[in-house]
Amino acid sequence: MPSRFKAADFLKRSCVIAGFIAVLSACQSDPPSPEHGALSRNTPITAPQTMGGALTAPGPIRLTPQLSPAERLEHSLGASFFHKPWVSAPSTTTDRDGLGPLFNAHSCESCHRKLGRGSVPTRSTRESSGLLFRLYGNGAMGSQLQTRSLPGMDAEAQIDIRRENVALVREFSDGLRIELFAPRYTVSEGQSDASLSPRLAPPLIGVGLLNAIADDDLRAYADPDDRNGDGISGRYLLIQQRPGRFGWKGEQADLRTQVAKAFHEDIGISSSVFPLDNPPHCEMPSCVTIDNKRTDISNAGLDAVSGYLSLLTVPQARLSESAEDVQRGWNLFTRAGCSACHRVNLTTTTHQRALLSEQIIHPFSDLLLHDMGQHLADSADDPLAREWRTAPLWGLGSNGGPYLHDGRANTLLEAVLWHGGEAEAAVQQVLTFNSGERAALLEFLAAL
């Protein structure tokens, strides 16, 4: 990592130009030509606000109103399987049973509340929340800790959460000090030998669009060895020969597999993609007898859920509100180098669904993994521990916190100040901002 932050490099990469109109029209080629680096500070944002192309809409995340009632009806199965709880087998409602025996929640909805971001428990995983723990290493408990179980058996473990230690103090040049509290996790029941990687349910914004970004685009954005010397690497995991893009660490490459994985790990619902009913770590005598021949959700069911999620609205940005501050914030955002990772423009490939096809979108993410420093690392020794996928920032204002992969940041400012590693230079820029500039940056983020 270079010791000094070079603003010009960021500007070059991130195609920052005068306002969003220009962003839309001129910034589609990659890499952008150098002239686009000129940032005109005073051009007002006249706000296309079409964050997610044709799927952009104001209001809560929901199935896009672009569809007619009859077309929307086609998505009832997907909506139903996402929102309605699953129950234990045997049940009279045979199409919804198969829950568990170990699981984290009864439905997708219970973590992705109203399709938005999950909440963190105040004290322990006994509370219902959107937080789960993935596990490093190949321990007896598989790759995810299941904190729920059917009656009569034990859940794998419960985790207590404390947030009393100041892990990091950030100081602005004007003297403002912000103390940042890191959550601490202790196993309070059951046991876990592996190290824990806490993950908060992200809002399900534009996942169909992200799914429709060409693999080659991600390959082109990547710069694992920082050849261009801008201090920003950008990598991806290869998942069956494809660049990963879903989850906080980009561990899944396509939406349907991500959905199947969620069914399997989070709810205990098997499918053709993950056919084993019990995660392999199920050792209790009671679960070895469960019939594994049947999958709980059909391929049609998986397609239905993926199809439904693909056509959800992307919240419309409110960039024209109090335009001056927002405009200033946008300039500061780019000046600090945020858009080196929070990439503004992406274009989807051709897709059979017009709403997803060749859409210019503004997720504010390159979908790549970046070294975010020791403070955000989730394990002492794993090579992936410091790496996180650039969190998309679209819909940031309409979804609320808490932010970051484990929900440790209660405010947007905290979220920014936790950045380290490759983003440290950007944070150092932010620390030079005076209170007006800070407010403008935050206003901009909240308008997304």
Partner: protein, 425 residues
């Protein structure tokens, strides 16, 4: 629940022009008095909600008394009476359901009463043959058989089955389908599992499941009796609460006194749109049909689903027309969205009026087939694979509701009522 619980309550720029429009009177389908001021659409809303929840309460009290008789003297006859009372209790309640979609206050509350699917295996025994598949697990699942419940590392003392216990078990262990109370819990206790799949027949729980002493079947009869009693008591209590909230002094009464008429109209459109498309046509009919699930139906133990759908549909029409026929036959009603629509956009109004009539007719066709045809065809038989007549009946009802939604959205657009929320599932 697929219906989003929030209203995207953006106020309409043309609200004032709506308010100043001359407001017409009668809709063809109703005998309601002409409206004189638009404000009174609020009053109608309150009046309808108060009446339908009070009716639900009255019917639930009757159910409670029948359950009392069943427990005092378990017999074929007393069980049949309790079942009939349950069916009657559903009539006003299903008509009330349309109110919940625009009111998060109701939506939160209603989970305790009407949640579905219900994890029946958590309440009482389920068919024996399943246990082979389940291994040891099956026997340990249910509350009725287990005075101490062990769930996700938590132990719950369930020695005394009381309304309080059942209430505390609602969504226990942080899981929203752990529903232990409400209509469907009571339904399951009265009927038992419907093991007939898509063939004829509902649940066949013997009355001896509630017998005391030696006649007790399936074990744990005392706990089952306690459970039924507690669940019924809780239902009555919850309905008392909701009913009071719509009376003068109640929070929902106050809410609707204070809302602008435009917002009331928005809420009506949102409610009807959500129930019509996402919930009833989608979740409760299309999903059931598509999944070909043996019984992915709403009132699955009792085979009462056809009525449930019909009264849902009627409830939507009530709300639009501003009228409701109470269980004692009285009619209540007043100025309505229909009245306003008819004056401002007669063609769009007429399209919706016809669509609503058609929806009521098509869900009524489900009732006719289920109750009065020879042999009767219940909803679970209609959705069976290969039943083309059954499928056609459901598809007709679904299509009618889709057209109703489209007509509603067109109307809302024309009279400048915000309908963005209704687009959601």
């Amino acid at each position: 629940m697929p219906a989003p619980k929030m209203i995207f309550a953006v106020l309409l720029s043309l609200a004032t022009s709506v308010a100043s429009a001359a407001v017409p009177s009668n809709t063809e389908a109703s005998n309601t008095k002409p409206s004189t001021s638009e404000q009174s659409i609020n009053d109608t809303y309150i009046q309808l909600a108060a009446a339908v929840y009070e009716d639900s309460l009255i019917a639930a009290r009757e159910l409670q008394s029948s359950v009392g008789t069943l427990l005092k003297k378990p017999s074929e006859k007393s069980l049949a009476k309790a079942r009939a009372a349950w069916r009657k209790a559903r009539v006003p309640y299903q008509q009330s359901e349309t109110f919940r979609f625009a009111n998060p206050e109701i939506d939160e509350w209603e989970g305790k009463l009407n949640s579905w699917p219900l994890d029946e295996g958590l309440i009482d025994y389920v068919a024996d043959d399943y246990f082979h598949e389940m291994g040891n697990l099956g026997a340990q699942l249910n509350i009725i058989a287990n005075p101490v419940l062990k769930i996700g590392g938590q132990e719950i003392d369930a020695r005394n089955i009381t309304p309080e216990l059942i209430e505390s078990l609602h969504e226990f262990a942080g899981s929203e389908s752990n529903v232990a109370s409400g209509y469907h819990a009571i339904e399951f206790l009265l009927w038992g599992q419907d093991l007939n799949g898509t063939a004829a027949g509902a649940g066949e729980r013997p009355y001896t499941d509630f017998a005391v002493g030696e006649n007790c079947t399936h074990g744990h009869c005392q706990r089952r009796r306690d459970y039924l009693q507690a669940a019924t008591t809780l239902l009555v209590k919850d309905l008392e609460d909701m009913s009071a909230r719509w009376q003068k002094g109640g929070d929902l009464h106050a809410k609707y006194i204070n809302l602008s008429p435009e917002q009331v109209m928005t809420n009506i459109v949102f409610s009807i749109g959500s129930l019509s498309l996402g919930e009833l046509a989608g979740e409760r009919m299309k999903v059931a049909l598509e999944a070909n699930s043996t019984e992915d139906e709403h009132d699955c133990f009792s085979d009462n689903t056809h009525y449930s759908h019909y009264y849902n549909t009627l409830g939507m029409q009530n709300l639009f027309m501003g009228q409701y026929q109470r269980i004692n036959g009285d009619r209540v009603g007043g100025p309505s969205l229909a009245g306003i629509a008819k004056a401002k956009a007669p063609q769009a109004f007429e399209r919706l009026r016809l669509a609503m009539n058609d929806s009521v007719a098509k869900t009524n066709a489900l009732v006719q087939a289920a109750e009065f045809s020879q042999p009767p065809m219940k909803f679970d038989q209609m959705i069976a694979e290969g039943n083309s007549r059954g499928k056609a009946l459901i598809v007709d009802a679904v299509n009618a509701l889709v057209e109703q939604t489209a007509a509603l959205e067109a109307l809302a657009k024309e009279i400048d009522v915000d309908h963005s929320g209704a687009l959601a599932f």
